[in-house]
């Protein structure tokens, strides 16, 4: 899709030499690829790696926020804010727990709830939950191995029955509450919730599937 190494090298040639990332192949970058970029960002403050993450995720974050109805200029600002958060907190990223896509999804969602939905207490609460999780995983002897494969989950999402797929998208990509979905689709609230439950159960099975 994109190979921005050259552009980055022009901006920061002395840093480009230290890039530890593997050569970019034609295949879509996987979770391990992003994990390597993240270690370069956190350990060496490597801008080339950062810009690879930027080139891939900034447009996606932008599209996600625009779909939620965020005005373009604010979406631009929130995307920058999300990527700056990544730059500052790269050391907090734990690939054993979640993929980079998931980590950035959380950051963007939190910014959306804070700035657009104006729930000023959401961010500190999420930081609190993060801290609890960090304390907990530090206490465990061995990191739980992430048995989760994004491709399998992606396929499972694509295989959801149409109604369940629609409800999941209305939740995540339009940020609609159960009651709003119920009103919009003229579907009883109980049916909205049970469809979402069934969809979640299926997707969870796919996340636990042996590789």
């Amino acid at each position: 899709m994109m190979d921005s190494d050259q552009a980055v090298a022009e901006v920061a040639p002395f840093r480009a030499k230290r890039v530890v990332a593997p050569p970019v192949s034609n295949a879509a970058p996987d979770a391990q690829y992003w994990s390597i970029q993240m270690s370069a960002v956190s350990a060496q403050r490597d801008r080339a790696s950062f810009m690879r993450i930027y080139d891939h995720f900034a447009p996606r974050l932008q599209r996600y926020l625009r779909n939620l109805g965020v005005p373009e200029s604010m979406a631009d600002e929130l995307v920058q804010e999300a990527l700056l958060t990544l730059w500052r907190k790269a050391a907090m990223f734990d690939p054993a727990r979640a993929s980079l896509a998931t980590w950035l999804y959380r950051v963007a969602r939190n910014l959306y709830i804070d700035h657009v939905r104006r729930q000023p207490h959401w961010l500190p609460i999420q930081e609190g939950l993060d801290r609890i999780d960090h304390v907990e995983s530090a206490r465990l002897d061995s990191q739980p191995e992430s048995s989760f494969d994004q491709d399998i989950l992606k396929q499972a999402i694509d295989r959801l029955p149409p109604v369940q797929a629609k409800l999941v998208r209305m939740c995540y990509l339009e940020s609609k509450s159960h009651s709003e979905i119920s009103a919009e689709l003229q579907m009883p609230l109980g049916s909205v919730k049970s469809s979402l439950r069934r969809a979640f159960a299926k997707l969870q099975v796919s996340m636990r599937a042996p590789r």
Binding site: M51, D55, R109, S175, H178, V192, F200
Partner: protein, 220 residues
Amino acid sequence: MTPNHHLDDATVLSYSAGALPAALAVVASVHLERCAACRTRLLDADQIGGVLLQQQRVDTPAEDARAAMLVLLDAEPAVEPPAPPADIVEEHDPDRLPSALHPWFGNSMRALRWRRVAPGVQRILASGIGGGDLMLLRIAPGSKLPLHSHGGNELTMILDGAYDDMLGHFGPGDVADLDGETNHQPVTSPGVPCICVAATDAPLVFSGWVARTLQPLFGF
């Protein structure tokens, strides 16, 4: 203590999606703060968000946006700011309210200013939350609440004391995550008052003659 009654899967999904009405999200957060099982399910739900983010169809970023990002990086301090000190929480301080409630009710159980709304029932309503109603309820021990069903979603978490209804026994940390199809009649346990935090996203619909009795209780 590990809770026995948890958030509904549909609630976890909406919480992750940022789609839960604000009042319900506060109660869900209170439960998540003390329930590792629900935090694990929340991570699953976040992974779905991550994949949906990946699937967004997009163009290559504009050169000027990339340049603007690099300018912002230049402005960042070279050394990472130190992480904020971890919140020191006295684990077993019975007076301390869960942190997700502090913005709405302060941090001390003792300092709460209850208002009687029905015999044996006291309440504090959070103001200005938008997106549903959030309240603390204090119900005298051994009380039988009138039979009621719910017009929308209702999420309740016990902070102290306990109650029983057709769904089982609910003690501290347990949540009742109910929708319009549940018709229940909680009976609080003897001994101490049952204190819980409750949120609704729609006015409660009461069955039969009890409607008038409960109107002052829930403020409709």
